[in-house]
């Protein structure tokens, strides 16, 4: 009976650790994704601003 309790506790601990690791990994991945999106978004925003500032149709002489 005691053996099966130990096994159950062990499995529970492993599951808990797995859950924690998974949660950490998810958090890290999410942060990485957010970081990526942040960097990419900033660059895209910057390109858009630069585009809007510089790309203009040709103007004829008044």
């Amino acid at each position: 009976m005691a053996d099966s309790d130990d096994l159950g506790g062990c499995i529970g601990a492993v599951l808990m650790i797995a859950l924690v690791v998974a949660a950490v990994m998810i958090a890290v991945t999410a942060l990485m994704s957010l970081g990526t999106l942040f960097g990419a978004g900033t660059a895209l925003h910057n390109y858009g601003l630069a585009f809007a500032n510089n790309v203009k149709p040709q103007r004829v002489r008044p």
Partner: protein
């Protein structure tokens, strides 16, 4: 010396010019903005890092954000720049293909129609005249489908100009690219026939030209063709000379050895317009081979009229010696021997036209003996003599062949066998004609001049050069 084409006073297509300046400034600004963004994040991280734990956490976050901007921002910047460049190049290529296709189509169409530009003033041939902007008057040297526009060019003043024949570019005011003389639409967008009238001084070239044009206009009216002048200058000139003829006065002597072409536009219903370029160079041009006018327009010759004054022939002068002196002033015999005039034409052809020393001139040559109104020449070699020969022939004969034989024989009898031989050996297509460009000798009586036989040589050459005249000539015959 630079040979680069000067820029047009037009706005270049965005994808050929400004697009690349915009691309460069966009890329530069975008990169600078990325650098500034990442620097801002790193500065914040550096500022917060020495603080409490929470500040340190925030500093790490800002630092990570800075790294993210550097790494992923650069990747996105590169991707966005690549897309921008690809779009520009794609449009560049599409526009390049489009204007090349339109240009090639236009060139092929115009070549098929045998349209090209010839300046009536300097006689230079070109594929395209220079066009004026109708609003600001700027000169557009190459108003063709190009990097300035596929179908239209936008002048720097904002006016849209058609850049192709198909959009009626020819209606714009234009000028010769060589001498800057103003051109009419007909000088460019028409089929052309070029007929110079050659001969020594005082053989009657100007009288022949004006009489032939006058009769050609009557002929076209009878044939259901429409004839008109390209320029009022030409019309006024013909009116003035016609009035002189009506009063029995000869036209003034041509002074220019390289005169402006006399243009006449002829059009049949449903057909492209034809523009005749008739040239009447001063006979003095033949006094020196080097100055021979022929070299300016021989490259596109349709045929030539070689006018002969029979009174340059010693045998003719001898035959009429008893009566010649009394009419010498009225007759004004030419002083340049026929063989010299012909030799100078052929030498010029050899020097400037690439005609081999023994090669034959392919264009039709009408040899026209003028001044047959004098004495009894008309009865001897004119149409009455030809008709008599035709009628007296036991077998049916062709009038043209009979006329050729009659005049060839007569020229030989007058000691011009060498001239006939030269003509027959050096010219592939020769016909002989007679005419009286004035109708009678200028006698001061005021009796109107009425030319005879001037139209036939011109019609024969035009018929050889252009199907529209060939059909009319056949119909008339």
């Amino acid at each position: 010396m630079s040979t680069a084409t000067p820029p047009e006073p037009a706005i270049k297509s965005y994808f050929f010019d400004k697009g690349y300046r915009d691309l460069l400034s966009t890329i530069t600004e975008s990169w600078n903005r990325n650098v500034a963004s990442s620097r801002e994040h790193f500065d914040k991280a550096a500022h917060l890092f020495p603080g409490e734990v929470a500040d340190k956490g925030l500093a790490i976050l800002w630092g990570t954000a800075g790294v993210s901007v550097v790494v992923f921002g650069t990747a996105v910047f590169l991707a966005a720049s690549a897309i921008h460049i690809t779009i520009l190049l794609t449009f560049f290529l599409l526009i390049y293909i489009a204007f090349s296709l339109v240009y090639l189509t236009e060139r092929t169409y115009l070549a098929g129609k045998k349209f090209f530009t010839v300046c009536p003033e300097c006689h230079a041939k070109s594929s395209l005249p220079e066009h004026f902007c109708p609003r600001c008057g700027e000169v557009h040297r190459r108003l063709i489908p190009s990097s300035y526009g596929i179908l239209h060019h936008t002048c720097q003043c904002g006016e849209k100009l058609p850049a192709t024949f198909f959009l009626k570019r020819g209606l714009l005011k234009s000028r010769c690219p060589d001498c800057q003389s103003l051109l009419e639409t007909g000088h460019t967008e028409s089929r052309k026939a070029f007929v110079p009238i050659f001969g020594g001084p005082a053989v009657g070239k100007s009288a022949f030209l004006f009489s032939a044009v006058s009769q050609l206009m009557d002929y076209t009216a009878r044939s259901g063709l429409r004839s008109s002048f390209l320029e009022s200058r030409t019309e006024n000139e013909l009116d003035r000379v016609s009035q002189q003829f009506a009063q029995g006065r000869s036209p003034e002597k041509t002074l220019s050895t390289l005169p402006r072409a006399f243009n006449l536009k002829v059009q049949a219903d449903g057909r492209d317009p034809r523009v005749l370029y008739l040239y009447d160079p001063a006979g003095e041009a033949f006094n020196e081979t080097a100055g021979l006018v022929l070299h300016r327009y021989q490259a596109y010759l349709s045929g030539l009229i070689f006018l002969i004054d029979p009174f340059t022939i010693p045998a003719v002068c001898a035959e009429y010696a008893d009566r010649l002196e009394s009419v010498r002033d009225a007759l004004q015999p030419s002083k340049l021997p026929i063989e010299d005039a012909l030799a100078r034409i052929l030498i010029s052809m050899e020097e400037h036209f690439g005609l081999g020393k023994t090669a034959r001139l392919k264009v039709p040559v009408a040899v026209v003996i003028n001044k047959i109104d004098a004495f009894d020449l008309e009865a001897r070699i004119g149409e009455p003599a030809m008709r008599q020969r035709v009628q007296s022939s036991p077998t049916p004969v062709d009038p043209e062949t009979t006329r050729d034989e009659l005049l060839r024989d007569q020229l030989c009898r007058w000691g011009q066998g060498d001239v006939v031989q030269q003509l027959e050996t050096r010219c592939a297509r020769v016909h002989y004609f007679t005419c009286s460009a004035l109708g009678h000798m200028p006698d001061g009586s005021g009796r109107a001049f009425e030319a005879r036989g001037v139209l036939e040589p011109l019609l024969w050459i035009l018929g050889e050069a252009d199907s529209i005249f060939a059909a009319e000539r056949k119909r008339a015959a």
